[in-house]
């Protein structure tokens, strides 16, 4: 399943890209339907929502600065 991690800062986005590199994520512009302070978002695959949240939380720099969306613009969790 595809998930989108949207960030409030570019630095969080780039840090997440490194931490989650083993997932071969895609760095894409934050979709216009989603309001965010940062124009970078990370699209990655995970087995389910729980795993996606766990992966997102594993990025220290993302804590308090990231929001997890399902493919589309449904907000699942704030990291």
């Amino acid at each position: 399943m595809r998930y989108l991690l949207v960030f409030d800062s570019t630095h969080a986005a780039l840090a997440a890209q490194d931490v989650l590199a083993h997932l071969s994520p895609r760095l894409i512009p934050t979709p216009r339907e989603i309001q965010a302070d940062c124009g970078m978002a990370l699209r990655f695959r995970a087995a389910d929502e729980a795993e996606a949240i766990s992966l997102a939380q594993s990025v220290e720099e993302a804590r308090g600065q990231a929001h997890l969306y399902a493919d589309g613009s449904t907000l699942l969790a704030n990291i």
């Binding site: 570019t10 780039l14 890209q17 071969s24 895609r26 760095l27 894409i28 512009p29 970078m40």
Partner: protein
């Protein structure tokens, strides 16, 4: 002269055909197994003033280039009839990429911006007719990063012609590492820019 280019990945069929045409061949038939090659060969034909005819054969297409003038419009119909995807490939604009980053400033930011720009371009409805790489831009076409190669491949699937400067690839010693696009030269790259209704430089 007959050439069998089945199994040969891009840009081989074009290279093989160009070689024969440059050597003076006026009647060349080349068999290819992918429609990107058909499109490229058709373009080559109209550029070199050769008549192009395409026939569907088992496993692919047979493209004949022979003396008789260009007939681009008929070629497009022929291609569509034969099942080659001829969806409009853009409003006639070219994108020139002369470096592997967007803007000047922080290198990491610049490189990531380029990744995102290529992605965004590949997702658009109206893709460029030509995507041209020179200097450090050619590194993108030889990239080990899946996202970069994927975006360029998506553009090719949508009809963009991707030209990568051979001289620059050679300079950076990455000619063998080319993952996507056709090896090209200053003449062709400049020509694409002149032909486009606008040129975007990233």
């Amino acid at each position: 002269m007959n050439i069998n280019a089945f199994g040969k990945p891009c840009p081989m069929p074009l290279v093989m055909a160009k070689k024969e045409i440059d050597a003076g061949c006026k009647d060349l038939t080349i068999a290819v197994d992918n429609d990107t090659a058909v499109k490229n060969l058709t373009r080559l034909g109209s550029k070199t003033g050769l008549a192009v005819s395409v026939n569907k054969i088992e496993g692919g297409w047979q493209v004949n280039l022979s003396e008789g003038g260009s007939n681009t419009e008929r070629s497009v119909e022929t291609l569509a009839y034969l099942g080659v995807d001829v969806s409009v490939s853009g409003s006639g604009y070219a994108v020139f990429i002369g470096k592997d980053h967007v803007g000047e400033g922080d290198p990491a930011l610049g490189y990531n911006l380029m990744k995102m720009a290529l992605y965004t371009l590949s997702e658009s409805d109206v893709v460029p007719v030509s995507l041209l790489f020179m200097n450090s831009g050619v590194k993108l076409a030889a990239s080990d990063e899946a996202q970069v190669v994927e975006s360029i491949e998506a553009l090719i699937d949508k009809g963009t012609e991707v030209l990568v400067c051979g001289t620059c690839l050679d300079f950076y010693h990455i000619k063998d590492a080319l993952k996507v696009g056709d090896i090209s030269n200053m003449y062709d790259i400049l020509e694409r820019m002149q032909e486009a209704s606008k040129v975007i430089s990233l």
